[in-house]
């Protein structure tokens, strides 16, 4: 006997127990995968970091406003956020350069993409630390 056709609307059908495509939790973490995730997360963070940029640019117009921004930027939490923002911007920029290289069809081989992922991470940390050593030396010299 043929089963009777299900005449209910499509959304009322019980969800079929089909296998789902595997997602993040099923794979062994790899550097290229981690740098891909980091690229999205840093882009997300940079999005909200522009609030700080806009605050700084608007604050620069008045002595009181700028004093408030400097108080925030000089506080330990402010410095931590600005340090994180610096790394996030640098990492996203280097990651973006990696993507632009890939756009030309280069750098996609197994060795090359591992090397690029490592360079992205190491480069972003190194540039951020060097920038901040420079920043703290300049701040120390002027205050």
């Amino acid at each position: 006997m043929m089963p009777m056709a299900d005449t209910r609307p499509l959304e009322a059908h019980p969800r079929a127990e089909r296998p789902l495509s595997p997602h993040l939790q099923i794979y062994r973490p790899m550097l290229t995968m981690m740098m891909s995730i980091a690229h999205r997360i840093t882009g997300f963070a940079n999005y909200f970091g522009t609030l700080l940029l806009a605050w700084w640019l608007i604050a620069a117009a008045s002595p009181n406003g700028y004093a408030r921004f400097q108080w925030f930027a000089g506080s330990w939490i402010g410095r931590l956020i600005l340090f994180g923002y610096t790394w996030s911007v640098i990492h996203h920029m280097l990651g973006g350069i990696r993507h632009l290289i890939w756009d030309t069809g280069r750098g996609l081989g197994p060795g090359e993409r591992e090397w690029l992922a490592a360079a992205n991470l190491i480069g972003s940390i190194a540039i951020t630390v060097i920038l901040w050593i420079f920043v703290l030396l300049m701040m120390g010299g002027s205050q």
């Binding site: 999005y47 806009a54 640019l57 608007i58 620069a60 920029m93 973006g96 350069i97 632009l100």
Partner: protein, 130 residues
């Protein structure tokens, strides 16, 4: 013998706008601003570092000078366009409920326009000394 079969109509192929009806605009603007962001971000970081430790009057004067103000305006506009495209992709990837998706896509446009315009206003205010 039959001619190659195309599901897409000849007009659709010529227009090249695809299922989303927007063609390669998103991809192209994303790459265009990505390329622009590289020199502009480096320039903005250099400007920022040279302004460290200076008082407000000096910062306002330097940021408001024509060359610096134009670089900062280009920087703000390029990153704002870029981040609007990027956040739209994040929303489309993770938010599947149609009304929530549309709401967030609208909020994304509102946020990026607001923060971009605020930054542009800040720069122009310094330049024109209003």
């Amino acid at each position: 013998m039959s001619a190659p079969q195309h599901i897409r109509t000849p007009l659709a192929r010529v227009l090249g706008r695809g299922a989303a009806k927007s063609g390669t605009e998103h991809f192209w603007h994303q790459r265009l601003t990505a390329v622009a962001n590289i020199p502009l971000t480096i320039a903005a970081i250099i400007i920022l570092i040279t302004l460290l430790g200076r008082n407000q009057a000096a910062v306002a004067q330097i940021l408001g000078s024509p060359a610096i103000a134009i670089i900062m305006l280009l920087f703000v506009i390029s990153i704002t366009v870029h981040m609007r495209l990027g956040m739209a992709v994040i929303i489309e990837d993770y938010v599947h409920d149609e009304s929530a998706k549309l709401t967030l896509l609208m909020a994304n446009t509102f946020f990026t326009f607001a923060v971009g315009l605020a930054a542009v206003f800040g720069i122009l205010k310094l330049s024109f000394g209003l």
